[in-house]
Amino acid sequence: MSGFEYASAPESKAIANIASSYGLFINGKFVDPKKGKSFNTINPATEELLSKIGYADKLDIDLAVKSARSAFTKVWSKMPAKERGKYLYRIARIMQERAREFAVVETLDNGKPIRESRDTDIPLAAAHFFYHAGWADKLEYAGVGNKPKPVGVVGQIIPWNFPLLMLAWKIAPALAAGNTVVLKPAETTPLTALLFAQVCQQAGLPEGVVNIVTGDGITGAALVNHPDINKVAFTGSTEVGKAIARSISATKKSATLELGGKAANLVFDDAAIDEAVEGIVNGIFFNQGHVCCAGSRLLLQENIADEVLEKLKKRMSLIRVGDPMDKNTDLGAINSKEQLNRIHEISSTGDAEGANRWSPECKLPSKGFWYPPTIFTGVSQSHRIAREEIFGPVLSVLTFRTPAEGIEKANNTMYGLSAGIWSDKGSKVLWAAKQLKAGVIWSNTFNKFDPASPFGGYKESGWGREGGRHGLAGYLTSDAKVSK
């Protein structure tokens, strides 16, 4: 053997008992959709069928919302807060127990490397429930008034990029605050949500508190437009977020929206270079770049640009692309054919508009949806690849001369979700953090999440925050706002 080649190290699929079909989870039970329709979910790394999933239409949504309302009125809002919290603790603990199973199912359904589902997605999701469980009986300390009340029934729609984690970000605070929910997972990644429904059963969660309705965009619209929900919580594209905002404009519904981003990752000349290179790689290639807060624009201070790019390219050639179930895989499959096409479409404008594309040599599998880690240099602010969210492993590289110019370029976007700052100088880091118009700022790190840390964006990256004290506010009735 020439050199150290890592033999395949596959995680076993045996632990994942994926049923051949799933119904909708309404009122504590799995039920068939009223019209009996279903759709398939596949493994994007192999294109193999994983399961047939029930398709919820308007009638099913209606049933789910009714269950949630009934559970809210009769059970959940009457329950002493500390007992509500205990259900969330149970859920957290069971998720921890079944962590490996969840990780494998997540990887099979989503395409992300098993190392990421195992080490990031699942532990964070369980931690989210554990953290919020502790808020249930402490809401008077959340800074939203001294007798905060839940909003009622919440319709929640989540994306395919972090299926279980996004579910946790939605359900945990909603329930902790005393609400009941109807949640629609993404069309391509329903499985861990359905597994979660089983966990709710194991935890003895009262029927109707959590309802999971699988389906597509039409299902989601039916949920958003249902007259008996009090709030919409949505994570997804800015385009759909705006559509939701329009749909609810004439209603009393409140909404939190967690939308797209085009984050700038600023590397100053006094940065710890090797760690900055890691941060750049993590920022855009973690989760195949399917991250709303991805550092998709690299802004390099011009005097270190060459050095950083050289190190970056060397580092990128170490990225292992391939079977997501292999424990050594760094970059997994693109979640769907549709998303792959979108990545191709936008990144090809990079070539067309004159930027310079580079990818390390990668052997991509023949079946499944794949895109190699890619950087474009010679990018200017006006290029589509510098303005539009690609949502794939594609990094646009720009330069800046002075700190002020770096900030200006970073802020020159309709998005404002996140940003990265790389500098070893404390005051510069804090100065840059102050100037950047972004809801989450990572200094000398990137893509760090914690249930205690509020997450959300400025401008067209959305409304509201998730996590921490600030995230709870969205699930409690406001003292000040009026919704007539």
């Binding site: 500390k82 919290g85 205990k86 603790y89 603990r93 931690a127 554990f130 953290y131 469980a133 502790g134 808020w135 249930a136 009986d137 402490k138 300390y141 959340a142 800074g143 700190p403 404390g426 005051s427 510069k428 804090l430 100065w431 102050k434 249930p451 205690a452 921490g468 004290r469």
Partner: protein, 280 residues
């Protein structure tokens, strides 16, 4: 012939282990029905000294664990206690002479108290810390930090709940504890230690002594390595004496009411304020 019980020996809990008193002394505990239950150890000042050494050496590790980790451990104590509920109920009934129903309520409240304080570990500085808007180009923030070693004199009754509601907030704040159980109702505290030792609580974070508070109070008051004291189980006079002697190292000494409150955590914490300039 009916089965003879294997009666439990009640020892001290120090550094994660169960030693007898170095003095070799014990004292008799009889139940509410005047029948003999056990001879728990009668702790000496040297046992107290050893407990403080254990508490001091364990405290830094406990404080440096993530808040999430501490929260998980406090919750685990609740899980383990839940499994042992009956044992606690029986012990409380025998000792306090109350009904099974009342004892059960006490045990449930004790378990729920652990859960309540567990939920505070990772929220305390979000709620009580602050970013302060000073005049000038400075980032200025205040965060609570653990105090160090806190001594607790547990109340007589309720014999289990009184221990838990003083101990939990001390731990939630990242401190280690030396708890002196009630002289007349000490046993649930030692049984609690059995739950602690199986809950991933690092050795030395909690230390429990049984004995005479009158004997130990002056030594607690004068010990320069003890940073804070909860005087729940002391008389007014004992409290005053302890405050007098405790002034030598400015111990933080408090008596609380029976409410669960984040203030009980904060009272045994410091507040640190940090400034940093903002500029290129």
């Amino acid at each position: 012939m009916s089965r003879i019980d294997v009666n439990k020996t009640y020892k001290l809990f120090i550094g994660g282990a169960f030693p007898r008193s170095e003095s070799g002394r014990v004292y008799e505990i009889k139940g509410a029905n005047k029948k003999f239950i056990a001879n728990p150890a009668l702790a000496s000042r040297k046992d107290l000294r050893d407990a403080v050494v254990a508490a001091k050496s364990a405290q830094a590790g406990w404080a440096n664990a993530t808040a999430f980790n501490r929260a998980q451990i406090l919750y685990r104590i609740a899980e383990i206690m839940e499994g042992r509920s009956e044992q606690f109920v029986d012990e409380i009934c025998a000792l306090e002479g109350i009904t099974t129903k009342a004892a059960k309520l006490q045990v449930e409240e004790a378990i729920d108290t652990w859960v309540w304080y567990s939920g505070w570990c990772d929220k305390l500085s979000s709620v009580t810390g602050s970013l302060n808007q000073v005049s000038g180009p400075f980032y200025n923030f205040t965060t609570p930090e653990p105090l160090g070693v806190v001594a607790i004199f547990a109340e007589n009754k309720p014999s289990l709940l009184g221990v838990v509601r003083t101990l939990a907030p001390v731990l939630a704040g990242g401190n280690s504890a030396v708890l002196i159980a009630s002289e007349n109702f000490p046993l649930p505290a030692i049984t609690l230690s059995e739950a602690l030792v199986t809950s991933d609580v690092p050795g030395g974070v909690v230390n429990i002594l049984t004995g005479k508070s009158a004997e130990l109070a002056p030594w607690v008051g004068s010990h320069m390595e003890i940073d804070g004291v909860d005087v729940a189980g002391l008389s007014k006079k004992q409290e005053e004496e302890l405050k007098l002697v405790g002034a030598d190292n400015l111990k933080r000494i408090f008596r609380f009411n029976s409410e669960n409150h984040p203030e009980r955590i904060l009272s045994f914490m410091e507040q640190k304020t940090v400034w940093h300039p903002i500029g290129i």
